[in-house]
């Protein structure tokens, strides 16, 4: 008997960019289909902004800068002080919903199906990441617009805006690769919605809402060395048009690149872990 020759498969060559485009389009379409989730993403930082400015701001404003009188002046100063942290929290809000989306994919049959197709593995999770970065930019612009409507006046030129956008893309990549990994590693959708809580809380233990030198030493040491502080300080400098210390900016960029790589490796490992 002549040896049977293997049937030649349809020539589906790996095409990661094409698959990434397909999967990104899918994620963006899902966001359009689920506008209430997008509304919640924006609502969380906006509610915090209103709470902090209109409830605490009158008093806190006098605490973040010297010679500010409590009341209206305090509120205006405090609004300017917390906008960077609120923008960062907008990004963490997107990250949290991304983790939920990824966990829904992983625990349902969709990822199982995709893993039986020739699709490039990086595209399956990468589509969520690219879409989340787009969503981060849109949501942050919206929140910034609301802050401006409340009287906030950033001092930023076109170049600064470009730098700000670039920095947010990098920061978004770091946050969303991490949250994609959390979502992919989660055993259930519920646990996926809880793990990124850490990301939501961290900005409070940093320079986002009060200067770190007002904190007791152990908290201050943590606050000074956690990634959100240099990120918030970089955004603060870019928005205020004041020079960002080179050390701070590079620390922020370093954290973002490092966390993005860690998130990517972790996500890849979680995606590859077999499940029946």
């Amino acid at each position: 008997m002549a040896a049977a020759t293997a049937v030649v498969p349809r020539p589906v060559t790996r095409n990661a960019p094409r698959d990434l485009t397909t999967m990104t389009r899918r994620s963006l379409l899902r966001m359009l289909r689920y506008p209430s989730l997008t509304a919640i993403i924006v609502a969380t930082p906006v509610v915090l902004l209103l709470l902090f400015v209109y409830v605490f701001g009158g008093a806190f404003g006098a605490g973040v800068a010297a010679g500010v009188t409590p009341g209206a002046e305090g509120r205006a100063v405090y609004l300017a002080y917390i906008v960077p942290a609120i923008l960062v929290m907008t990004a963490t809000s997107v990250a949290q919903s991304t983790a939920i989306n990824v966990a829904m994919d992983m625990t349902g049959g969709i990822v199982t199906r995709l893993r039986t197709t020739p699709v490039a593995p990086v595209a399956v999770l990468g589509g969520h990441v690219v879409a989340a970065v787009v969503q981060t930019l849109l949501a942050a612009s919206l929140v910034l617009g609301i802050a401006v409507a409340l009287g906030y006046r950033p001092d930023v030129d076109a170049l600064g805006l470009l730098a700000m956008t670039g920095f947010f893309v990098l920061f978004g990549l770091a946050l969303t690769w991490l949250s994609v990994a959390m979502g992919a590693a989660a055993r259930s959708v519920e646990s996926a919605s809880n793990t990124p809580m850490l990301l939501v809380l961290l900005p409070f233990f940093g320079s986002g809402f009060v200067p770190v030198d007002t904190m007791p030493t152990p908290v201050r040491l943590f606050a000074e060395h956690q990634p959100f502080t240099p990120v918030i300080e970089t955004v603060r400098g870019l928005l205020a048009g004041t020079p960002v210390g080179a050390g701070t900016a590079w620390t922020a960029v370093g954290w973002c690149v490092g966390l993005a790589v860690v998130g990517w490796l972790w996500a890849r490992a979680a995606y590859r872990r077999p499940r029946t």
Binding site: A4, V7, R14, L29, I110, P274
Partner: protein
Amino acid sequence: MPVPPLPPAIEVVGLHKRFGDQTVLDGLDLVVPAGTVTALLGPNGAGKTTTVSILATLLAADGGTARVLGHDVATDPQAVRGLIGVTGQLSAVDPLLTVTENLRLMADLFHLPRAEGRRRVAELVERFGLGEVARRRGQLLSGGTTRKLDLAMTLVAGPRVVFLDEPTTGLDPRARHDLWDQVRVLVADGVSVLLTTQYLDEADRLADAVGVLHGGRLVAHDTPAGLKAAHAAGSLDDVFLALTAPVPSADAA
């Protein structure tokens, strides 16, 4: 020049799989000739889904070999993925995308040219009677329609070997008959099918061969009629009960 014979659709030799200290597959041998339907029966936990997962490149075996149309699933998974379609036990429909968008997604992921993708999607919508719900979201479909869409998504790229893991569980009789008809259409097109099922009449009606998986290997492998004759049984139910008396290794933790 003589046409070389087709390799078997599926050729499994001495397959072993353990989860921790639980042996699920213990030297499984199974051949599915090209163009035929084989039904895999077995009690819950027998390892049917595990077998399908290994063949579908989702899970690595601990020993033995598995080939799909001549391609080893362990050493050339990418070639296997280009030839198979899998409808798993869980629904793999995106709940937020419409029926058409779900199908288009598969066409795009298999890199079908745009026009061909459109044609293929339209063809499947027509063939599965999904026209009325084409613009409805996955989450709003009934169980039977979701299952149809699931199978249609599996077929977008024209797979040569199709795995169906309990394709009709939870469907009403009409939906089950519709699905059986779709499988018959596939076979008429020369596609090979491995299906797992808990419904023995399903195996009886659809399969050219039936394998009964128990204790990690096939305890019987024959045509439905052959099995019934060999066990002097009136139905595959009786054969199943006779062959799959509980063994201690099956689900003992």
